[in-house]
């Protein structure tokens, strides 16, 4: 292909490299920034020799083994559960309109920030929460809350529940997204039909025919979920045990400890976290290989039925329970945000007041403004970079290499706690003192992969003949990009924008660390308040956290409709006017 040599083309050509650099340099730099102190090198504490003391004190920390085990088990179990339930729901409702109803019900959960989801779940399952209020005292005889271990139970059940509920919609939507790709979805549905015409019951047909071909599209999302779960901070902080906590939470506490020498141990912990996450990803991969290997024979053994009905009923029950849990969590949250006095075991508050919303809204202006400004700038940059990288792909007529595609997901696969502390150090090193800029930059790292993920498939599916046609009419590449491609992509761009905003709105650690705690957003406030004194104020903030991304998606859904109705209306006006003219 002969490349045009105009300014647009040349600058577009640079964008893939820029995008890679923006993602790779901070992550790698951040890792170096924790690697040095992990081996005892902190000039600020006059420690300039390399030692292993950080690792020794790490291994001697009381409960270190339990921390590792907690992180490993909770992330593996929750990912397995989320994956299993995703597959069961897909299998059970593969040919049913309920699949899309469930998608519509679970979809909004995806954009609920982890902190808000954790707060909602903790409101549901605490001994004084919605669940026990609904059953007390008529069933349980409790006049005061039971002394249960939920949440924060040492077996991490609450935490696993929280992680599972948050991961499930993500995996389900990723699967449905893959199925929505015209070629793949149609093919898999047709093959599912073939298997049924060959006598396979729908469940078995799904597991033997659809799943093996769908799984490759789920692998990366699953690994991202696993990596995230193994090192997340918000959910373990709000739902997890703390004697001891998960490794990631412990690392954060050490980094923030008064005793500054603990930073060496914290950095060593960050390295351990990295190893742990990598080990978990590797184990998933091995597990996958093992299952593939040992289940192959049963794929072709001709067996048509494996208690399909029973599994179907179980899945239906599970779905109902899941939806009930989610609904009750939300109802509980809304009730708390308007509650006056609400003594246990009353199922409803004794009065409803607007005080908490009024009070919170008065104090929310700055965080709200920060949240929106940072979100918009980070997402705007991410969308521009993504679009120009995808355009560069089309100009070069080849997609990014597999390696480059993998690099884009780097910030999703490497635990953020492992490199963010180093990133802050790096930002200090290059003299970047502008907190706002640092936070936006930190957010960009996490927004970019999601925006790219969301836009890439639509952009690559764009029919190239439109641009060939335009080029043959003598239109410059920049005009093709702006006038032909972008308008066609309005809806996916807005969805990607909304997704980017949602990701940015939910960031906790990057905001806290890159901003040096100077920049408050709704999410940092919500997490700070989650452990705090007022359930009511906490509920207001959690609901705000949910409302913001919901509004973004609502706009993304509404704007294209508005634009198209306008165009239609304009069209109608013009045709009707031509009709009336003689």
């Amino acid at each position: 292909m002969i490349q045009p040599r105009d300014l647009f083309t040349q600058s577009i050509q640079l964008s893939p490299a820029l995008l890679m650099a923006l993602l790779v340099i901070p992550v790698v730099g951040g890792l170096i920034g924790v690697l040095l102190p992990a081996f005892g090198y902190i000039p600020a504490l006059d420690k300039t020799t390399f030692t292993l003391s950080g690792f020794y004190s790490l291994f001697n920390t009381a409960g270190f083994g339990t921390m590792l085990l907690l992180s490993a088990v909770s992330s593996l179990v929750s990912t397995l559960l989320a994956f299993t339930i995703t597959v069961l729901i897909l299998a059970c409702y593969f040919n049913s309109p309920w699949l899309y109803r469930i998608q519509r019900l679970l979809g909004p959960i995806l954009v609920i920030p982890h902190a808000a989801a954790a707060i909602a779940i903790s409101f549901l399952i605490t001994p004084s929460g919605m669940m026990s209020r609904l059953f007390s005292p008529w069933l349980t005889q409790w006049q005061s809350p039971a002394d249960w271990l939920l949440p924060h139970d040492p077996w991490a059940i609450s935490m696993i529940l929280g992680l599972t509920l948050k991961e499930l919609p993500f995996l389900l939507l990723m699967a449905l997204g893959a199925l929505a790709q015209a070629d793949l979805g149609e093919k898999l549905r047709a093959q599912h039909k073939v298997a049924m015409s060959l006598g396979y019951c729908p469940m078995t047909a799904f597991f033997k025919v659809v799943l093996p071909n769908l799984y490759p599209f789920l692998r990366l999302p699953i690994l991202a979920v696993l990596a995230y779960a193994s090192a997340s901070v918000e959910i373990p902080l709000i739902l997890g045990p703390n004697a001891p906590p998960t490794l990631a939470v412990a690392i954060m506490q050490w980094f923030n400890d008064v005793d500054l020498t603990l930073r060496i141990q914290a950095s060593a912990g960050a390295i351990m976290q990295l190893l742990l996450t990598m080990t978990l990803l590797l184990s998933w991969w091995l597990l996958e290989k093992l299952i593939k290997r040992f289940s192959y024979n049963s794929l072709i053994n001709g067996r048509r039925e494996y208690a399909g009905q029973l599994i179907m009923r179980f899945t239906q029950l599970l779905t109902v329970i899941l939806l009930t849990v989610i609904m009750l969590s939300l109802i509980g949250l809304i009730l708390w945000s308007f509650a006056g006095y609400w003594r246990f075991p009353d199922a409803l508050p004794s009065q409803f007041v607007l005080l908490h919303w009024q009070h919170a809204l008065q104090h929310m202006q700055t965080p709200l403004l920060n949240t929106i400004t940072i979100g918009f700038i980070a997402t705007f940059v991410a969308v521009i970079l993504t679009l120009s990288t995808l355009e560069a792909e089309q100009l070069r007529a080849r997609n990014l290499s597999n390696f480059a595609s993998l690099l884009i997901y780097l910030p999703m696969l490497i635990p953020s706690i492992a490199f963010l502390f180093g990133l802050v150090w790096l930002q200090e090193q290059v003299g970047s003192h502008h907190a706002y800029f640092n936070v936006i930059f930190g957010h960009l790292l996490f927004v970019l992969p999601y925006v790219f993920l969301s836009l890439a498939s639509s952009y690559r599916r764009l029919d190239p003949r439109f641009s060939y046609l335009a080029a043959s009419l003598g239109v410059t590449p920049s005009k093709v990009f702006l006038r032909v491609k972008l308008p066609q992509l309005l809806a996916p761009i807005l969805i990607a924008f909304a997704l980017g905003l949602a990701v940015s709105f939910s960031q906790y650690l990057p905001t806290l660390l890159s901003g040096g705690g100077r920049i408050n957003t709704i999410t940092t406030e919500a997490v700070a308040l989650a452990g705090g004194a007022s359930r009511r104020v906490s509920a207001v903030y959690a609901l705000m956290q949910m409302l913001l991304p919901a509004m973004a998606f609502l706009l993304a859904w509404f704007i294209p409709k508005l634009v198209f109705t306008k165009q239609n209306a304009a069209h109608y006006v013009s045709t009707s006017s031509t009709k009336t003219t003689p």
Partner: protein, 217 residues
């Protein structure tokens, strides 16, 4: 006993408008061809026959396979094989395993022998371990045919089965398919656009019209 597929007094409606009516009995080895423009209800008929009538359609009438009423049976319990225009081979299984997938449960060794024998019969010797994607279009069509036949169906439905094959391949494959249907004495129903397919089938031809009928369901 002569095998048969009997469509009794079938009327399919979209919303409340009648789409098509059929009353036919197909005996073993016979191919009934259904022709008609798009929108005439050909694929809706197939969907009803497989028990997958989509939402928004309703049907009156019944379906008997070998004297047994299967109108209310779920699609996977009907023993009605399907052959599409696309071969739709499973990409995660090789040629032999695609066929094994379709065969009833049984002794592993016997199954393998049977697969190899039938591959040989259709001139696909040595292809057992190949991946479907590496086969030519005609070879894929033959594997798909084998897959349906070895699943031991009691009837077979053909959904524009040859429309994606080029002219020479089309005739060969067509002959092969019809020969196999006769050999297995299966009642078959074929939906097609192409009159030459229908003539080659050498059975009764029904042409559906796109016009909506006046009566209401």
């Amino acid at each position: 006993m002569q095998s048969s597929l009997n469509i009794k007094q079938l009327t399919i409606c979209r919303e409340s408008t009648p789409l098509l009516s059929i009353n036919e009995c197909i005996t073993g080895g016979e191919v009934l061809s259904i022709m008609g423009p798009s929108g005439s209800g050909k694929s809706t008929l197939l969907n009803w026959l497989t028990g997958m009538l989509p939402h928004g359609f309703s049907a009156k009438g019944s379906l008997f396979l070998n004297e047994q009423n299967i109108t209310q049976l779920a699609s996977h319990q009907r023993h009605v094989g399907l052959l599409y225009q696309d071969p739709l081979l499973f990409p995660h299984l090789n040629v032999a395993d695609n066929i094994a997938f379709a065969m009833p449960k049984g002794n592993k060794k016997q199954r393998i022998e049977k697969i190899n024998d039938s591959l040989k019969q259709l001139g696909l010797e040595g292809m057992a371990a190949r991946h479907p994607q590496s086969l030519s279009g005609g070879q894929q069509a033959r594997v798909a045919l084998l897959r349906v036949l070895l699943s031991e169906p009691k009837a077979i439905l053909l959904d524009e089965p040859f429309s994606k094959l080029d002219a020479t391949l089309r005739e060969d494959t067509r002959e092969l398919v019809f020969a196999q249907i006769r050999q297995h004495q299966l009642p078959a129903l074929m939906v097609t656009h192409d009159i030459s397919d229908a003539h080659a089938a050498a059975g009764k031809i029904i042409t559906l019209s796109a016009d909506e009928q006046e009566t209401r369901c």
